[in-house]
């Protein structure tokens, strides 16, 4: 490689390995400090992404998580091929890379000793997109909560629908909503936690209809993409547009909770459910 290559492209492996650059304030933070701070920037409080299992570890009482339906995985019902190749190949690569079978991990556990059912999305699996398997797992977890009258908590992290599954992806919006709607019938709590990002078809289904909607600071939450809106209305959008703070201001979420206080907050909310 020539020495005069553009600085942007210059590789600095040692530096990249130990440093993490905050996407918001651009600060360089020791990777170790970043992780110790739960992937939250110590300088600007930007809440970075967590894997599903990291989040489960932070949220549930230790050793209480029991995973359910972990084998459900995409089947490529449309035999979908796009400009970059086959959906099924993409799925296999993603499974190998992440060790996940779908974009959501579901199971049971306890928060402050109270039994709960949880569904935790993982953005690493195809952008947390809503595939048939995702919808099935979220529905089955809701049914588990319904059958046993256990509170249901869903952590969303998703770019929205999964185009590679076409209309079947869209139908998961109706399917998951049918599942959480049934919890009302038995007065079973449903708490939705919206993390960065929760957009498109996921925001327009189960993520937005919790009894309580909680968001992490700065999370991107919205239905239509920023660029699509700008192209439609030919107008500049406010800087805080579609952030957790913007949604709080407009009445669509109940509270913004720091990651460090998420478990305590969930426990406190659940303590008001005494049926």
């Amino acid at each position: 490689m020539p020495w005069f290559i553009k600085p942007k492209e210059r590789k600095r492996p040692e530096r990249e390995d130990i440093w993490n650059r905050c996407p918001t304030c651009k600060a360089h933070v020791f990777k170790e400090d970043w992780h110790n701070n739960l992937n939250v920037c110590p300088r600007c409080n930007y809440h970075g992404k967590l894997t599903a299992y990291e989040r489960i570890g932070l949220t549930l009482d230790s050793g209480t998580f029991r995973e359910i339906n972990e084998t459900i995985t995409p089947s490529d019902p449309l035999d979908f091929v796009d400009g970059k190749g086959r959906y099924r190949d993409k799925v296999e690569q993603t499974r190998a890379k992440t060790g996940l079978n779908e974009s959501v991990v579901t199971g049971t556990g306890k928060i402050d000793g109270r039994p709960v059912v949880v569904a935790v999305m993982d953005f690493r699996f195809l952008g947390g997109s809503l595939g048939s398997g995702t919808g099935e797992k979220i529905l089955l977890a809701a049914n588990h909560a319904y059958d046993r009258r256990m509170p249901y908590i869903v952590f969303s992290a998703s770019g929205g629908a999964r185009m590679h599954e076409g209309i079947l992806s869209l139908m998961q919006m109706a399917k998951t909503c049918a599942g959480v709607a049934r919890l009302d019938e038995r007065k079973v709590p449903y708490i939705s936690v919206l993390t960065d990002p929760t957009t498109g078809g996921v925001s327009a289904s189960y993520a937005m209809v919790g009894d309580v909607n909680i968001a992490e600071p700065g999370a991107l939450i919205g239905f239509a993409g920023r660029r699509v809106i700008e192209n439609t209305i030919k107008q500049k959008l406010p800087d805080n547009f579609q952030t957790a703070e913007y949604l709080l201001e407009h009445g669509f979420i109940d509270c913004i909770v720091d990651r460090k206080k998420m478990k305590i907050t969930l426990g406190r909310i659940l303590s008001f459910y005494n049926r």
Binding site: S132, L170, A174, S205, A224, I229
Partner: protein, 317 residues
Amino acid sequence: MNQSSDFEAPIIEIENMIEKLKSISDDKRDEVAGQIAELEERLARQRGEIYANLTPWQTVQVARHKNRPVLSDYIAMIYTDFVELHGDRRIADDRAIMGGFARIGKHDIMLIGHNKGKTVEENIERNFGQARPDGYRKALRLMKLAEKYGLPVVTFIDTSGAFPGLDAEERGQAEAIARNLTEMARLEVPIICVVTGEGGSGGALGIGVGDVILMLSNSVYSVISPEGCASILWRDGAYASQAAEALKLTANSLAEMGVVDEIIPEAGGAAHHNPKQTAAEVKKAVVKHLKRLKGWSPSRLTHRRFEKYSKMGFFTK
């Protein structure tokens, strides 16, 4: 002049020939009558052939055709005693969705549909059938009213999508659609949905959860527009035709996947060639299902609807 797509050119050509022959002066009419009859036969055959062999992308063109019947046409052709009900009781009356009491045959129903216009003026007033949260909340209000009065709900779906605007996001587009999905899942009266044109993603589904989903044969229903899908997955909107193919958005594909229960044939090959007969077919199908679902108890309806949506999708266990 009709706006039309390339594949319709042979049809237009024959139509023009017939038009010309018909304009020939009265004294020669007998001579050309035979020719006209022959051309009309050819026209029917040609139409049948063309519309039976459309590619998915061509079907999208037909579903978006500017002469395709819209909600107001269907109201005029197959409904009686329509009483339009306005407003969401929150903030506005979104003209992109229209609804109200109506009769179809002997059945009293609540009609709700996307309200595309036929002229530029109408489309500006109705935002091209792209609803804001106010529209979805109006729709929900009417559904709850239908539940109170024991009226089945019939929805007509024809939108390119929910409106992507600043005000729509500000007032909770996501929440409005999500709320409708949860409420429609457990509404205690029958819901019959008919996709009449474009089934555009969440904007369509927002009034599209029901006991039976019907679809006109040249309608499309998709998670994203072919153009949008192409620009993301092919990084170029020009691949819309490939995307339309890959998305499996035609009535036949949707029926195979169990998303659509029944396909309603379009008279004359495509609805815009014979709106009247197409509307009659729509009426026949809707009435058939209204009869079938009549008398179902709320618990039977909601249980079956839950089962129906529980089965949606394919995955590996």
